[in-house]
């Protein structure tokens, strides 16, 4: 290891301890390079590229607002935006509601690690794995999911190949993978509510449901707000499941924004236009986060 750096050992340390500028530069240098080169620079460059015509082979060519004008007039873009928002609403709605219930149940039934471990297991595999296995389970002809539907007397559903079902199905697949993680976040938040509050309510004769509504939900609000901000931002970036399971189809009914951006960039080599759509997505994320923050008053807790 790097113990071979006996830097000025003779100097009486405590006296000079006030200023470590040179050493500090050395310590943050790798991280700073990583930050500037792979986060700050690409952010600025992404914004710049959105004002250019760029096909990756020749140098970017400034073309003003052309990409944005095209975007506003592009029906596929608006459809992608619509599909993405529809997906986010289904995905986040279902996931948050389920996670909240699971977290409260875990809190009430058993706090043992094994249960949390099982609930978290799907999160350990990639989106690709999740998409693959559900592609098979929900297969129209042979999938066990449709076999079960048949057994209980319901018609088969073309989960991933009908335009009505495809987005709800993708939302469900991602709920399957992420609900445990979300539940654990909420579970961690539940631990911060003092048990004495529940005891007092119980003495006053409050039932489970009443306690959930009047204690758990309000006291958990800041936690849920934070969870929502994290999960909504993630949800808007959905790509993997679509790329594996449907490739945007049937037609454009699962062509989410991120998949369209990828398609424009790597299928048609229009990096300028793809960058403009990335900027649009970034703006949407900033606005959504800001609105959420204001609506849920994430900064203030009723416990404080």
């Amino acid at each position: 290891m790097a113990i071979s750096t006996p830097t000025r050992r003779a100097t009486p340390r405590p006296k000079r301890a006030r200023d470590d500028t040179r050493l500090a530069m050395l310590f943050i240098l790798p991280a700073l390079i990583g930050f500037l080169v792979f986060m700050v620079w690409p952010t600025l460059r992404g914004i710049y590229l959105s004002f250019t015509k760029f096909n990756l082979l020749t140098a970017p060519e400034f073309n003003g607002l052309d990409n944005y004008v095209r975007m506003v007039q592009d029906p596929v873009f608006w459809n992608a935006m619509k599909v993405t928002i529809y997906y986010v609403i289904l995905n986040i709605g279902l996931q948050t509601a389920l996670a909240l219930v699971i977290a409260v149940m875990m809190q009430r039934l058993t706090k043992r690690t094994w249960l949390r471990g099982i609930v978290l297991t799907p999160y350990l595999v990639s989106n690709v794995v999740a998409a693959m296995v559900f592609l098979w389970i929900l297969d129209f002809q042979l999938g066990i999911g449709n076999k079960i539907l048949e057994a209980i007397g319901v018609d088969r559903i073309a989960f991933l190949s009908s335009d009505a079902w495809v987005i709800p199905t993708i939302a469900f697949i991602n709920v399957w993978r992420h609900v445990g993680y979300t539940a654990l976040l909420i579970f961690a938040g539940l631990q911060t509510i003092p048990e004495t509050v529940y005891e007092a309510a119980r003495v006053d004769g409050a039932g489970e449901v009443r306690m959930f509504r009047s204690i758990t939900v309000p006291l958990l609000r800041p936690i849920i707000a934070l969870v929502l901000i994290i999960t909504v931002v993630g949800s808007f970036q959905v790509f993997d499941t679509v790329a594996i399971a449907t490739r945007g189809g049937p037609v454009d009914s699962s062509r989410v924004l991120q998949y369209y951006i990828y398609d424009v960039a790597f299928g048609r080599f229009q990096f300028g236009y793809a960058s403009a759509m990335s900027v649009a997505l970034l703006l949407v994320l900033v606005i959504v986060t800001f609105v959420q923050y204001r609506l849920t008053r994430a900064e203030s807790s009723d416990l404080a």
Binding site: D20, F35, P42, M106, I118, S126, M132, L226
Partner: protein
Amino acid sequence: MATTTTPPIATAGIDAVPASVEPPEERRFNIGRVLAWVFMIAVILISLFPFYWMLRTALSSNNALYAGSDSLLPVQPSWGGFQRVFGLQTGQEALDAGGAGQPVNFWRYLFNSIVVSTLVTGGQVFFSAMAAYAFARLQWRHREKVFAFFLAGLMIPAIFTLLPNFVLIKQLGLVDTLLGIALPSMLMTPFAVFFLRQFFLGISREVEEAALVEGASKVRVFFRLILPMSTAPIATLAILTYISTWNEYFWALMVSYTDNSRVLTVALGVFKSQTPQTGPDWSGLMAATLVAALPMLILFMLFAKRIVNSIGFSGIK
């Protein structure tokens, strides 16, 4: 509150109450508890069933799946699926079994995934720890400003930097290399720096100052004192980073074009697109899926407690 929770948690206060509760109340709680368990068991089944189904399908003969699609056990058990995944069947054998004729070799992709995840985890955790130490313990001008700048990076969604980063990696000539996949996240993430700084701030200054008085340099203090004292959070961070890198798909898909740099997630997508469109090789696909998922599931089994307990707000709040 349920009347019988696990002993260590149901302490004091709670035991005092149930005795005075009248029977009907007691009964209602129990029904609620039963329903709650029924719900949780459903959650457990839905969480775990797909894993069983991967295994069951992977161990079936692909051609028999059509007839036995509703059998809960493997249909005509066979290793064929796994053999195709590891390229152990000849093209003709694979075609006969319903697979794709092209040879695939998942060992290669497994190796690539291990290299990328190890590079990213090792580099990111080490360099972030160094930066975190500078932010937590060293005295220098503009420290807080630079740190705030780093934190602002948390706001940039990963997705936004991917396209420009690809352009950069291409200019560096690193497309289709493992280093090209690893590089952007090898040096830091704002989260890792933030997470470790929080922990370093909590380490008692006295131990550190004692070492400094004895003449140790700050570099030595970092390597010999701070790092060893932080094994637990560093291990947690490393495991989480390893898992998320392993599961990354979008970025790896952009950068890798050939077997040189294909990681498991990308290879799985390619394997899927090669399978016959009519009558896919489900047993081969599920074997591949299982192979891709298994390393992380094993890692999870080994470190379940640490991983489960690491999810909370300690790092964020």
